[in-house]
């Protein structure tokens, strides 16, 4: 439960409940992500890690509870909230027919951002050598890197990452950890669902199993 005072610019989730189909996945979940904060979501498969991230990204609507950003409910100005969120799901949204830089450029345009940091973003994840390739020729790990390059290409204060290190090699994981560290130093917030041990110093852990709804009480 949330008792500590929360600052104006925290990302706050209060008493969230999530239903998928007939099943109440979790209930009464509260979460505070302060500036520079990181939260690691852990829990068994199906405990609702991805659902929570989709809730935080406003891609799902909670059946109960609400989400606060900048001191007010995100539903009040959902466009502004969405503009400050990066959601990297487990699907990469990569079209095989587009080039690597083209794909990143398209994502940047979609956010209405200027394509000023494309090359820097590609270099950060070691994709500069393949920038002109079609995505069709990328390996699974490179596709993941391309999806993550979005984080650098378009600045946003809240990162929601669903298994970001899946398919990444050790070097890729190190780059990711570094990118997250830099983001948090600059006051950014990160919520990560992961099974892999990702170096996130000072991050709090949220075990989703603890919020599992009692199946008997739900119906």
């Amino acid at each position: 439960m949330m008792t500590a005072a929360t600052a104006e610019d925290d990302l706050v989730a209060e008493n969230l409940s999530c239903r998928r189909g007939e099943r109440l996945v979790f209930a009464g979940l509260s979460l505070v992500v302060p500036a520079g904060g990181g939260v690691v979501l852990s829990g068994a498969n199906g405990s609702g890690k991805s659902s929570l991230l989709r809730l935080l990204a406003t891609l799902l609507t909670p059946v109960a509870g609400h989400l606060l950003w900048g001191g007010s409910a995100v539903t009040e100005d959902i466009a502004a909230y969405r503009a400050s969120v990066h959601y990297v799901g487990h699907r990469d949204a990569i079209k095989l027919g587009l080039g690597v830089r083209e794909t990143l450029g398209f994502w940047t345009a979609l956010r209405g951002a200027e394509p000023v940091a494309l090359d820097r973003a590609l270099a950060t994840f070691g994709l500069d050598r393949v920038a002109d390739w079609r995505c069709q020729w990328l390996s699974a790990g490179q596709r993941r890197r391309l999806a993550l390059a979005r984080l650098i290409a378009i600045p946003a204060p809240i990162w929601l990452l669903d298994e970001p290190a899946a398919a990444l090699d050790i070097e890729g994981e190190a780059r990711l950890a570094e990118v997250i560290a830099v983001h948090r130093q600059a006051g950014g917030r990160v919520v990560v669902a992961t099974h892999q041990p990702l170096a996130l110093p000072g991050a709090s852990e949220l075990r989703l199993g603890e919020f599992a709804a009692d199946p008997a009480a739900a119906f």
Partner: protein
């Protein structure tokens, strides 16, 4: 504005690069029309009478065939999530995607139609009306089809289901479209063409809301 333009450009680019998709719908259109002379016999008299109807029906079917393309790939690879979180409202995004669909499906059908009309020995005087009718009517096909494409996302056999759902919606377009060609030979196709234009114009502001609502449902 960058978001709208970027999405439009990407959809056109993808259709162009994965040329098979445009080619599939157009190839189907041409083949379906060409089959009729073989099926009903080569009498020019009969073909001339039913030619406009054949072309319109084939255009409808070719359009249905291409509907899957509008949202299915973006739904499967998570691209729709990014569109929801983008700088534009989802209604705007679906309208842009629909426009790209029309440019890569409807417009090529319009361009091909006069050649097929010649093949069926249509009265040359009726060909401009046929082309104009298709030009006015195909946007309505893309717009109505977009709703069904969004509704059938996640269905097990989206292709079959969407054709069952969308063809009844296409009926007014078919009736006024082929009616216009008939009417042009006896004097005035104007009312038919105006009604076709009206169908497209009425669909333009209404269908994006329905399609966006269906997409939100599919993403839940």
């Amino acid at each position: 504005m960058t978001a709208y333009f970027g999405l439009f450009r990407r959809d056109i680019l993808l259709s162009w690069r994965q040329g098979g998709e445009i080619g599939l719908a157009l190839g189907f259109f041409v083949l379906a029309v060409v089959l009729f002379p073989l099926g009903v016999g080569p009498e020019a008299e009969i073909l001339r009478r039913i030619g406009a109807g054949i072309i319109w029906v084939a255009a409808l079917l070719a359009s249905v065939l291409s509907l899957d393309r509008i949202f299915a790939a973006d739904h499967a690879d998570g691209g729709l999530d990014l569109m929801v979180l983008s700088a534009m409202p989802l209604e705007g995004a679906v309208l842009v995607k629909c426009a790209a669909h029309w440019v890569t499906t409807g417009l090529p059908l319009v361009v091909l139609s006069p050649f097929l009309a010649l093949l069926l020995d249509l009265d040359p005087a009726a060909i401009p009306t046929l082309v104009l009718g298709l030009l006015l009517g195909t946007p309505a096909l893309s717009l109505l089809g977009m709703i069904v494409a969004a509704l059938t996302l996640g269905a097990r056999r989206p292709g079959v289901l969407s054709s069952l759902l969308v063809l009844p919606l296409y009926l007014p377009v078919l009736i006024f479209g082929s009616g216009a060609v008939e009417a042009s030979l006896v004097g005035g196709a104007r009312p038919h063409l105006l009604l076709l234009g009206a169908l497209s114009l009425a669909a333009l502001p209404l269908t994006p809301f329905a399609a966006a609502a269906a997409l939100r449902q599919a993403l839940e």
